[in-house]
Structure formats: C-alpha cells, structure tokens
Amino acid sequence: MDVRLPKLGEGADSGVVVNILVKEGDSVQKDQPVLELETEKAVGSIPSSAAGTVTAVRVKVGEKISAGQVIFSIAESADDAGHFVEAAVPAARRTRPLIPVNPAAGTAAATSKTIPGFPPPASPSVRKMARDLGIDLTRVSGSGHGGRIMLEDVRAHIEKLQAMADGGAGATETAPRPVERIDFSQWGPIYMKPLTPLRQTIARRLSDSWRTVPRVTQFDEADITTLNELRKKYAKAYESKGARLTLTSFALKAVVATLKKHPLFNASLDEAAGEIVFKEYYHLGVAVDTEHGLIVPVLRNADKKSLFELSKELEELAARARDRKVTAEDLKGGTFTISNQGGIGSGPFTPILNTPEVAILGIGRGALKPVVRDGKIEARLMMPLGLSYDHRVIDGGSAARFMVDLVAAFEQFKEADAKI
C-alpha cells in the first residue's frame, strides 16, 4: 500500500523534505517517524500510518511535497492490530511539530538505553513537553545520573537540531561562514539564554531578507496635527463600540489608499519566472512586539474595511499575537507590512523587508516640531516615516512618488472615513 503525507494541520499543506528516516527494506512500525518535513512555520516528523516493510521511497531530500502525496510504499505486515486506533485519531494530531534532525543526527545512536515498556528516563513534565514538541527523547542525551534527561538537555537538543537545519536547509545559498566561538567570559562575567524557536525563525528569515534583497530606505515626515485631532475626536466613539482608534489604524487606511495608486508596492518578484506578481488584494502585515519576539500577523482585505473595522481587527490580531495564539495561517499572505514604533516612542528607523513583500513602512514617534507654514513658524505634530523597498523591483523615483502620496494621505485624511 501507499503511505501518503497526512494533512499537516495549522494550515500548512506542503513542505520540504529535510530528512528521510527509512530506506527500502526497512520495517516500520505504525506511528514510527519516517520523514522530517519543514513547513513555513516549523519542522515536523511525519509518522507512518501503517506498519510493514518499505518497498519504495517516493520522495527525495529537498523535494517539496504536499498533503496527500505518496511518500513511500510498504508491504503491510500481518500484524495489523490496533489499526482502528489509527483511524480514530484525527490526522492533524498525528503530525507533530519538530525541529529537524539532519542525516548525521538521525544515525546517531540512541543515547539513553532502551528498556522494554519504559520511556527514556525523564520526568513526566519533560516527557509531556517532548511529546508536545514532537521530540523523540530516545535521541536526546541525558546529562543526569543514569542518563536522566533534564529540561536543559531537551533545550540543548533543540538548539543542536536547529543549528543543523539552518546549516542544511539553504542548499542553494552560499552557506554563511561559521562564526568563530568566542569565550566572552575572559573579559568579565556573562550568562546565557537559549534561543527560542521563534527567535531562531526570526533570525533565519531576516538573514535571508538581508542577503537577498538590495534594500533602500526613503525618509519623510507627515504632518499629523489634523489627523491627531481627528483621532481624539473619534476615540471615545470607537472605544464605546469596543475598538481603540490608534495611529496604526489610520496608517492602514492611508497605506491602502497609496498602494492602490502604486500597485508595484503591493507586488512580489518571481525571479524564477522572470515576472513581477501584482496582487489585487491588500493584506497588510502589522509588526507586533511581543515578549517572545517579533510576530507579524496579517490583516486581510484591508481595502474593504472601514477604519472602525480595521481598528477592531487590529486590536484582536495584536492580542492574539501577544498571547501566541496566531496560527500559521494568520502569518501568511501579506502584501505590505507596517511597523509602528511610535507607541514605544522612538524612530525614525530603517525597517527590513518582510520578504517576499517588496516594501515596508516604518513609522516613528510623532513629535511637535517648528514648521514654517505660510511664512510663519508653527508648532506642528510631525511623524517620521521610513519606507524600505526592494530596489530590484522599485526605482527611487517611484519610491519618492509613493512617499509623497502617502504623506498626503496622512495629512488630508477625510473625516468622513473616520466616522463610524
């Protein structure tokens, strides 16, 4: 029979094969991990849905595969007991997020001794965590007495795997030179904190962006004195209906209006096809600063929503991001990103592109500044803007024109658009 890639859950429906754990002739148990697959969000081990002897492996390392695709064929073993159990368990639950193991690690001998009926020596809480993360504890070396696996051992294992995955995944890229390890303690006291999986994802994605995109940042300032009055005027009404009217809400509206005039900024570059992909939808990513790190959930169809709807959805999305409740789906499909540091009280800054988007707007803190208007100096509330763009797709002139229109959109925000 054929064993197919199950639906992965969390909205992911395809991924790249990082590691194949079985070969032709191997006998596999049901639920034994047979494949490790990297999806956009995480890396998961794929368990076999049946027991038997592998007759052919149908996928290759590095291949992109989708749910439902045949991954390998097996001759089913007679011992098919408990097959119903398989059917009763929803497929999504059987796919466990995991950090990949590259072939080198995969062949490494089990570090803890296996005793029939006993899991590797670890506390129930560590075993539960390992299960939730899809980590096979038989591959974790325990530092405790008798090879007992501590929480730190699992952490170290994740880091090791992540490092391997980072080294092995980007085969088309020139691998970054390994950084020499420096003993910082020679100059004074230090302490260490492990990189969280989220931080590692951020690091990987932003390094890719930095390496691949020739990026330029265009600066300007928008006079938001009037806009701020408007915000104050309607804040109460919004609040009474359960939404906070913030500058970011206005920015969403202003950006969408400007993107409509400059479709190139709502596009992506498809180098392989030699095409620029223009998107006729406006899904805006909003950078959210959470205690765990940067998360950029996507607010969909921003062009079809009122300022009130945008405000409300923005708040919900940010709250979910902070509670780590955003799904992989929530993070996908953005066409342009806004990062507003105004709330924190700093700026301007040069944002880095959230690839494959081609432009991102960084907003700084608005501050009162002396401005010459009609020959007189006036105190006006000025907000710094930094627009980073992919110079492969967008020329400087286009960026300047985008900025002029964007500033105008802020400065000439129509009151009608703010009304609920």
Partner: protein
C-alpha cells in the same frame, strides 16, 4: 421532547467519571454527569475501595487487640456489633458521597440521576425518576465501570452465594465461609471475615494467591492466611454449587480429586466484567474487544468520534487511580489538547495483612520479558520502626537496571505498604536512579527508610544490614 444540549456528558459518576466531569467543568465546559445510583462515587466509593478499607480497619483493630498481649497489653474478647459496624461504614460512604455531590454543585456540574442509553452516537436517553430525558452533546465520556462476575454455574439466585457487593454489607458472620478466588478482593474480604470469626476456606485455581504480585511479596500474606483461614487450597476449582437447606453444597476439585462440602455462605471473587450491556453501544460506532471492554486508543478515544471511554469499561487494570488518570487524558482530548496516557506505571496495592504494593516492573515480568535487573532487598527485620510496632514481616525491594542504575520497579510487602509505594511511583516516573533514592534523606524512624536502605543495598553499603562483598570486590 426537546433534547438538552451540553458540551460534555459524562456517563457514570465513579472515580473516573466524576474526576472527568470536574476537570472538564474546571476547564470551562458545560457538563452533565449521569449516575444511576443514589449515591455518587461508583463502585469505589459505594461497594469497593472505601467500604472494604473501613471494614479492614475494624478487622485490624480486632487482630491487633488479640496480638498485643506480649507487648504487655491484654484486652478481653472483642464484642462485635454488626449493626453498628455497618452503620459506621455507611456513614463514611454517605460523607464521601455528599462530598462528591457538593463538589459537583460548586463547579456547576449538573448531576442527572438515571440510567443512560445511547439512541445513537450523538444522543443519549436517560431514564430518570421524572421520566425520559434526551441529551445531545459535543462529546461523551463513558465511565460506566464494571461489576463482579458471577459465573452462570454459581448463579443460583441464592443470597448465600455472594459477590463482594453483598459481602461488604456483612449480612451476618457465617460460621463456615467459602471464598472462591484468591485475588485481592477475595483476600481482603477473607481478612475481614476471618477477623470477625468466620472459618474460611479459600479456593484458588492458580498455584499462587494474588496472581501478578511477586512470590516473595506474597509469602508473608500466605503465611498469614494459612494461620487465619482454616485452609487455603491452591490449584483447585469449584466444579458445582447447589442449595442445600440453609447451606450451600460445594464440590471442589483438585488433582482430579473431588470433595463435597457444606458452607453457610460462599463469596465468589473471580474477576470483574464491564457494565456495557443495555447501554445502547450497538447504536454507536463503538467497538468492543473480545472480553467485552470498549476499545480505546491512548487518547481514550473509542472508534466512535463522539465517544471516549475511561476506567474499568475501557479495559486494562481495573483500578480507581487508573480511571482518574484516564479522566484527565480524556478531558484534555475533549478540550482539543493532544494528550495521551503516558504514565509509566499504575501502582497496585493489596490491602491484606500485611499489605502488598508494587509499581513499575515486577521480578516475574522482568523474567518474562528478558529484562536484566538487579534486585536489592531490604528486610523489615532490620527496620527499627517495624520492630517498634511489632510487624517485622515486611520486605522492601527495588528492581534496578544494572547499567544505568535506573529504578525500574519497587515492591513492598508489610504493614502500611500502600502508603509507602507513592515514593516508588514518583521515583520511577521521574526516571530516578538508585543513587537518587539513596542520596535523599529519609526521616528516622520511619518505614520510608527501607526504600533508601534498599537503594544502599544495591551499592553494597546499607547501614542496617550487612551484605557480603562479591568475590571480585
């Protein structure tokens, strides 16, 4: 009639069912708990763990009073007031039952008294005192438990042939009592009736009583039984029973020899069967195994996507604490978490005199599975604490992986073994090694030291016992 709609229905309010209902309510689910008994708590509370332990306490008082003469304390012959003993036992059950009901009320768990029957996977009919009610739900957890098996040949409709359910009500103290089955229920109830004064003959089909426990742990209990019972017959079967006036005529068979005897009462303890008849299971997609238990996976899910099962009815060892753990798993699964039953050990305690308790691997199992272990034993004769309460007939032993020194099993026989085994459970679940046990300070003078000292025996340097060094050392 309109169906009542709820998030979760729990069918059966035993230690699995009420634990599930409470946990689900604590997690924010709207829960209806169904129970056909007047008192909540299931077999455990009403006719199992709790009443038997109350009666065993009374039995212990009697036997301790008898054995205290050499400590310089002599009592007269104890007077036994059965009505009072029964009332005292029942008062405990009432207290606990009311406690469970009150905990349900505080959590907003709706308790529906009645018998549940599956109309289909998504609909349950409940026969209540006020008539039929229909429930629909997102999920249902079946926790209907088990009952004592009474083989057809013994089921004569004669109340003198009892199961544990009847025996726990102590209808009287029969002069001659036959106990069929030397498992933990037969042995515990035998202990009670022996203390009350019955002459007991215990018949066991296997060559050992308390199957499942290691023979060295069973030995002190066997010694007790040989003294307290009139006779313990191993490898013996009861071939027939018949009513004979106010007695039961019983024919036993061992080694091909038949023996005919007369008993005032017979207690049949030959196992338990799941309560899944007359439940409408056939109207759902739930499948049953060859013994009639509901088939479940490690997440307690049955083959019907709406139905989970926990406790005795789901098979495996039939113990309240196993059901309670499964309740946690089932509720987490109902709440969308990816939970599975992944405990290493379900501890077992037999409340005989002395008690036997074990967890993890047994020596018998290690041999069967070919797992190499080193066994470290600490006899209670070397325990100061055991001497002070005059019960040195105990033993604490550890099964240790010789290579990693990991603790794989703990077996204890002795007074209060059930209270001691918890440390073993924690150690095994934590993946502890003998060194961990040996290095943890255990309070003196307590029996808990026997665990530490047994671990020290493994390393060859227990303080209170001397181990001859191995020749190569």
């Amino acid at each position: 009639m309109d169906a009542i709609k709820t998030d979760l229905v729990v069918l059966g309010a035993g230690p699995g069912g009420y634990a599930a209902a409470f946990y689900a309510a604590d997690k924010g689910k709207k829960v209806i708990l169904i129970e056909q008994d007047t008192r909540l708590g299931g077999v455990c509370l009403n006719r199992g763990c709790i009443p038997s332990k109350a009666l065993l306490h009374a039995a212990q008082l009697i036997s301790e009073a008898r054995e205290s003469t050499h400590c310089g304390v002599t009592f007269g012959e104890p007077k036994i007031d059965l009505d009072k003993m029964r009332a005292w036992k029942n008062s405990i059950l009432d207290k606990l039952g009311a406690g469970v009901a009150s905990l349900a009320g505080k959590r907003g768990v709706e308790v529906l008294k009645g018998r549940g029957y599956f109309e289909d996977s998504k609909k349950l009919r409940v026969e209540t005192a006020e008539g039929q009610k229909f429930l629909t739900y997102d999920k249902i957890i079946v926790a209907v438990g088990s009952k004592s098996a009474l083989p057809k040949a013994f089921d004569l409709g004669n109340p003198r042939i009892m199961t544990s359910r009847d025996a726990l009500n102590i209808p009287d103290v029969p002069e001659k009592l036959l106990i069929v089955g030397g498992g933990y229920i037969g042995m515990e109830l035998g202990t009670v009736y022996a203390a009350l004064g019955s002459k007991i003959v215990l018949v066991e089909a296997l060559p050992q009583i308390l199957a499942g426990a290691d023979p060295d742990l069973v030995q002190p209990v066997m010694r007790y039984a040989e003294k307290a019972f009139q006779e313990v017959r191993l490898s013996t079967k009861v071939s027939s029973m018949a009513t004979h006036g106010k007695q039961i005529k019983v024919v036993c068979e061992s080694n091909g020899q038949k023996k005919e005897e007369f008993y005032d009462r017979v207690l049949v303890c030959v196992g338990r069967v799941p309560n899944c008849n007359d439940l409408g299971i056939e109207n759902t997609q739930v499948t049953r195994d060859e013994k009639g238990f509901l088939k479940v996976n490690a997440s307690q899910e049955t083959t019907d996507p709406n139905i989970l099962a926990i406790g005795d009815v789901a098979g495996g060892v039939m113990l309240a604490h196993k059901a309670a753990r499964e309740a946690r798993v089932a509720v987490e699964v109902v709440c969308g978490e990816s939970s599975v039953f992944q405990s290493i050990t379900i501890p077992a305690v037999i409340f005989t005199d002395p008690e036997i308790a074990w967890c993890g691997l047994t020596e018998t199992e290690a041999k069967e599975k070919g797992i190499q272990v080193q066994v470290a034993k600490f006899p209670w004769a070397a325990s100061g604490r055991a001497l002070t309460f005059d019960r040195t007939d105990g033993l604490t032993k550890l099964l240790i992986d010789p290579e990693t020194e990991r603790l794989l099993g703990v077996g204890i026989v002795g007074h209060g073994a059930g209270e001691l085994i918890g440390e073993g459970v924690l150690a095994i679940e934590m993946g502890a090694t003998a060194q961990d046990l040996a290095a943890a300070i255990h309070p003196h003078p307590t029996l808990s030291e026997t665990l530490m000292e047994a671990a020290e025996v493994f390393y060859g340097h227990a303080t209170h016992t001397f181990i001859r060094k191995k020749s190569e050392e």
